[in-house]
Symmetry: D2
Subunit: 167 residues, 4 copies
């Protein structure tokens, strides 16, 4: 792996999540692994975090979890590299800064803070199955905010963005 | 000052702010000082931060600024106690955790992240002159999200909340 | 209070501390208050933190506590402004960056990390009653590391440093 | 990779480092990779960080860099997974919490703060070629502080510790 080639995809979303969203998260994790990208999330054993990490790891991917905790009690078994921050929600900033592209599932206020930080730090952000479409338009810079309804669409958007950067 | 009595009011809002919002922020700062409360904000010399700190300090109040920076170059002159974090947006978490009540002016994505963190950490939150009313309802726990159209209304809401806690 | 005039003195030292050191910490807190300076420490209700904050508050001083915790359960009653970081030891960086001058009592590994960060960030550092004299010489830049055996000596060193900066 | 099996070795040491220490760091990185462990360091393109990451990556290892920066300008090319914290020295806490075992080379005050945090957080710590032997004894809990004079010795100490935990 080289730092030039490694693309890190942040996957954000609630610890409580609907079964449909968890299934989509699993598929997104799988597709991220198949692309050869690294999946990054909050690292805990629940919701979108667990489902996306499982999808990636079961398909040969590398998964990085940025934990709010100072110990490893709540780390998902599908995280290959657990980063223990001991910083609570302050770790949300690390999630965003470290990710090259971010996919946000429906979630609670924690996910909302990560969406906000993505917009603030100008990371390309894809809302997946969001019920908040349109809501963040006024906060977004041009060509940084997208919507998708399936995991496959999200991957396609990211691939288009990568191609644009390279051209 | 005793830690039991000191009430800390977090004032959030954009570094770029409309003149009307800055005037309201000045008045809010003044009223916070008059109540004997401590004003907390992001500490920089611009927008809602500067205006609210000025209003408080010129009326005898104590102002605490939680800076994203590791040095004091961008500290507002109206901050009595500048806390240098060197942590960028991660300091937004400190703003929220430290404040007993939070007033949010219109702002950009940074302010949005603070609103999200207030909802996440269950701090009573008052949106002042917000164009986003209704938007955060689904993220809010009962009796923690309020709207105001003037600084005086925001102070009244806080005083009501303080009375309820004491009774 | 104005940000230009407010001098913040960081007082570091163990949560477990000898009675002699706690007495010296109380006197140091008192002298800091008498000078009109602000005392900053880790904010908890034990050891050097509690003793120094008590000395300052009982003599009319303002005390700022930078807590590792996300809630106020362990805040000393002698802290006028408790800053809740929820960041564990990462808050040690804030202690150091925010303080203009630092006095370190004997302590454990936490205090050692704050001494190291003071040296790293070039904050003038006074070791008070330290059994580690000489130990940090190789890490220190010129004129930034001092030793004192009493609270009064520490204050004198700080006053000399302030005079030098002003001249 | 599974989170149960992945062992993370933190390698700390100066950005300025002697050629001998950089050579030892390269060999340590190589041996970490050969063992199948993950190397973690501060991620920048200098000193012990660069040398140890190079040794690991050129021998097939995975390298995680916990950067103080919010952008990737100073990331070493030998880091496979750069974690951007934007938190300055507060990231030193993450280095320590995330590492299962820590090897510290000679360094400046930054390295000293990481040694202190390792002792504070009870991470097994091996001082490699240190001129500070004996210095940290009073801060260390039983069986958590070791000395080595070669990279091979450091690896042997870690392997002994892993065997003890498993038995």
């Amino acid at each position: 792996m080289s730092s030039v080639k490694n693309i890190i995809i942040g996957v954000m979303g609630g610890g409580d999540a609907l079964i449909e969203d968890r299934e989509t998260a699993y598929r997104l994790g799988k597709l991220i692994a198949v692309q050869g990208w690294i999946l990054l999330n909050g690292g805990r054993a629940c919701g979108i975090m667990e489902a996306s990490a499982k999808g990636a790891m079961e398909n040969g991917g590398v998964t990085v979890g940025i934990l709010p905790d100072a110990d490893s009690e709540q780390v998902s078994e599908y995280i290959s590299i657990p980063i223990l921050t001991g910083m609570g929600n302050a770790r949300n900033c690390i999630n965003i800064l470290t990710s090259h592209y971010i996919v946000a599932f429906p979630g609670g206020a924690g996910t909302l803070s990560e969406i906000a930080l993505a917009l603030k730090n100008k990371r390309p952000l894809i809302l997946l199955n969001s019920d908040s479409e349109g809501l963040f338009d006024k906060y977004a810079k041009k060509d940084l905010l997208f919507s998708a309804h399936t995991a496959d669409q999200a991957i396609e958007i990211i691939n288009n963005l990568i191609r644009k950067r390279q051209s």
